[in-house]
């Protein structure tokens, strides 16, 4: 009897917790986001229609993953722009999974979106779903990472190759003749591979700098720490390391500090922890001196603007819009 009662209680509390969880999620969502609740959908639809006058469009977005700061910043910019332009919008989490994204494209199609924009981390995997939606007359857009499908009307994303070149320039600025340098990358992610291409293009052309090590950290800061530790064992005087992602820079920094080395860190992403480290000139800023920053807000607002432009005028500014990354150092980290 006791056990039965206990089971019932556990079931009730689990259900309650689930409902509470769902509830709080809806509260968190900004006004205007359609969360699937019928009454709320109608309300927001009516509201946005009022804002935009007689003509209102419904657009759908699939962000790479809600577990990344980068995509959270893109999402915030998308929401702001949609509200400004009076677009009704739905934003979904693609969970960096092509299978999930394909299903979500279908869901957005079923909800009568006029246009859909997504971030394809797996370009080939989402192609069939993109083309199916396009065949139904939905305007398809991509941001951050694109697909090779011809159905894509416009793409907006960081110029990652240029970002890699900027990283190499920073390495060259900070190093002197004869120095040895390294890079920690993640070649299975196409955007990070582009950074590697840009970096190596510049660095390999230098005869007076030795590009000694390259390693794959697979998105795991602890793995980056081990790579750096192993390199410093072989080459204690390594002058600089270009880390094509902030978790890699975090791991490399830990290994450099533990080894008492003077290797300088040049990160990539522009996340808050990078800025904090660079500003900490007495501590982490002694090593982490430079950062190549992406511009997620610009990516989010650009793609939303282009979708709006296409729906209202039938054309876009360009089918491939590259957002320039920029360098953060102690001079501009506080901005």
């Amino acid at each position: 009897m006791g056990r039965k009662l206990f089971s019932v209680l556990v079931c009730i509390s689990l259900t309650a917790a689930m409902l509470a969880g769902c509830g709080s999620k809806e509260e968190e969502a900004a006004p205007g986001v359609v969360t699937g609740d019928a009454t709320e959908t109608e309300e927001t639809a009516a509201k946005t229609a009022d804002d935009a006058g007689s003509e209102s469009y419904k657009v759908g977005f699939i962000v790479g993953s809600r577990e990344h700061v980068f995509y959270n910043l893109i999402e915030a910019a998308i929401e702001e722009k949609c509200q400004e332009l009076g677009l009704e919008y739905i934003i979904l989490d693609g969970q960096l999974d092509a299978n999930v994204m394909s299903d979500e494209i279908q869901d957005l199609t079923a909800q009568n979106c006029d246009a859909i924009a997504l971030s394809c981390n797996d370009a080939a995997g989402v192609k069939p779903a993109i083309e199916a939606a396009s065949a139904e007359g939905i305007a398809m857009f991509t941001f951050d990472c694109t697909s090779e499908s011809d159905a894509i009307i416009c793409f907006a994303g960081t110029d990652n190759t240029e970002g890699g070149r900027l990283g190499a320039q920073e390495v060259l600025r900070l190093c002197k003749v004869g120095d040895k340098v390294a890079m920690i990358g993640y070649p299975t992610a196409s955007s990070v591979l582009d950074r590697q291409t840009g970096f190596e293009e510049v660095i390999k052309a230098q005869s007076d700098i030795e590009y000694k090590f390259f390693g794959d950290y697979a998105g795991d800061a602890n793995k980056a720490q081990q790579l750096m530790e192993d390199w410093l064992t072989q080459e204690p005087d390594l002058a600089a390391v270009f880390c094509a992602g902030d978790p890699a820079a975090t791991g490399a920094l830990a290994a450099i500090k533990a080894a008492g080395a003077n290797t300088l860190v040049i990160g990539f992403d522009g996340n808050p922890e990078a800025k904090t480290a660079i500003l900490d000139t007495e501590g982490n800023g002694k090593w982490w001196v430079s950062e190549i920053s992406q511009n997620p807000s610009e990516i989010g607002s650009t793609i939303t603007e282009q979708m709006h432009k296409y729906l209202t005028t039938g054309s876009v500014d360009s089918d491939f819009i590259l957002i320039e990354p920029y360098i953060i150092t102690i001079d501009n980290a506080a901005e």
Partner: protein, 327 residues
């Protein structure tokens, strides 16, 4: 004489494989056998050793715990968040924060796993699969997907600090994390091999029915083992947080597979009843040596994935065939 050698070999396959790997890497790379690299190796295998130490108990029981990586991440996040409350922490404070976070978060997660398995008869695979998702999800919810950073330098003492500073090695020689891991592993090994509770673990793993009939409180043994497994996972997680001086919500993703592989490499049977914490540590050493050796030799990370699994598989096959022969 011949059979004596055979028996010794079959008992120590994992040690022999480790020695062969060290010789191969030592011959192909000058740095590998340097004192500094060998000491680095002990710190690099620490996280996996901590996870595997507790996992050995659960696997001997015939169970499995695939939530250890996520529980480790959650404990790491908790310790980093707790660490932020003490902006001027001393080394002693940081150790207390880290260990308490690891034991509490790991212990609670393990207790929930244990409760689900013993009270509600949910199979360990499903229970710990659920815990894997819940703990990972909580890590992201608590942090909003961002790393927890801005911790005091003393927070990194346990994970990145070193003792015995000399002129040639001003940062110290012996990693604190190695000593910490050694103590935890020693305690877990003693608990399993020298105590009544340890013998009960083997008894329940060999035959639950017989263990029950001989008066062992089976559920209690299973519950405590899961709590222990959670605690060592939590301790592994706080070590990662301390090592990186921040809490990463994505930390330790997939580490459960390496911990299970190390345990199995160490001769612990997946059907339960036999195994040892000490030998699992040799399994951890093999995995660490392969990773470190291939890093030093600049072998492409794609090949690393293939090679590491191939060596693990070969070692297990060798171990199995030796055991069959010795029976």
């Amino acid at each position: 004489m011949n059979s004596k050698i055979k028996r010794w070999v079959s008992k120590n396959v994992v040690v022999i494989v480790l020695i062969i790997l060290c010789i191969v890497f030592g011959l192909s790379n000058d740095t590998f056998l340097s004192g500094r690299n060998l000491i680095n190796l002990t710190s690099q295998m620490s996280i996996n050793a901590l996870l595997a130490a507790g996992l050995t108990f659960v696997i001997i029981l015939g169970g499995i715990d695939i939530s250890v990586g996520s529980v480790a991440a959650l404990a790491g996040i908790a310790s980093a968040m707790a660490g932020l409350l003490f902006p001027d922490m001393s080394i002693a404070t940081s150790i207390v924060i880290l260990i308490v976070s690891g034991v509490v978060v790991g212990g609670i997660s393990g207790a929930i796993n244990g409760l689900m398995i013993t009270k509600f008869r949910v199979v360990p695979m499903i229970t710990t699969l659920a815990m894997m998702s819940i703990a990972r999800g909580l890590s992201y919810i608590l942090t909003g997907g961002q790393p927890v950073y801005g911790l005091h330098n003393n927070f990194a003492w346990l994970g990145a600090g070193r003792l015995i500073k000399t002129e040639s090695m001003p940062n110290g020689i012996i990693p604190v994390i190695t000593i910490f891991t050694f103590i935890v592993v020693f305690l877990m090994h003693t608990l399993l091999s020298k105590t009544v509770f340890g013998r009960h673990v083997y008894a329940v793993g060999s035959n639950r029915q017989v263990a029950h009939l001989s008066g062992i409180h089976v559920n209690k043994v299973v519950f405590i083992s899961h709590v222990l497994c959670g605690i060592t996972a939590g301790l592994g997680g706080i070590c990662v947080a301390s090592k990186l001086q921040n809490g990463q919500p994505a930390a330790c993703e997939g580490y459960e597979m390496f911990a299970i592989a190390a345990t199995v490499l160490g001769g612990t049977s997946l059907v339960g009843g036999s195994g040892s914490v000490g030998r699992a540590i040799f399994g951890c050493a093999i995995i660490a040596v392969i990773n470190n050796g291939m890093n030093l030799m600049q072998i492409s990370s794609y090949w690393q994935k293939v090679v590491i699994v191939a060596i693990i598989l070969a070692a297990v096959i060798l171990d199995m065939s030796q055991k069959k022969n010795s029976k």
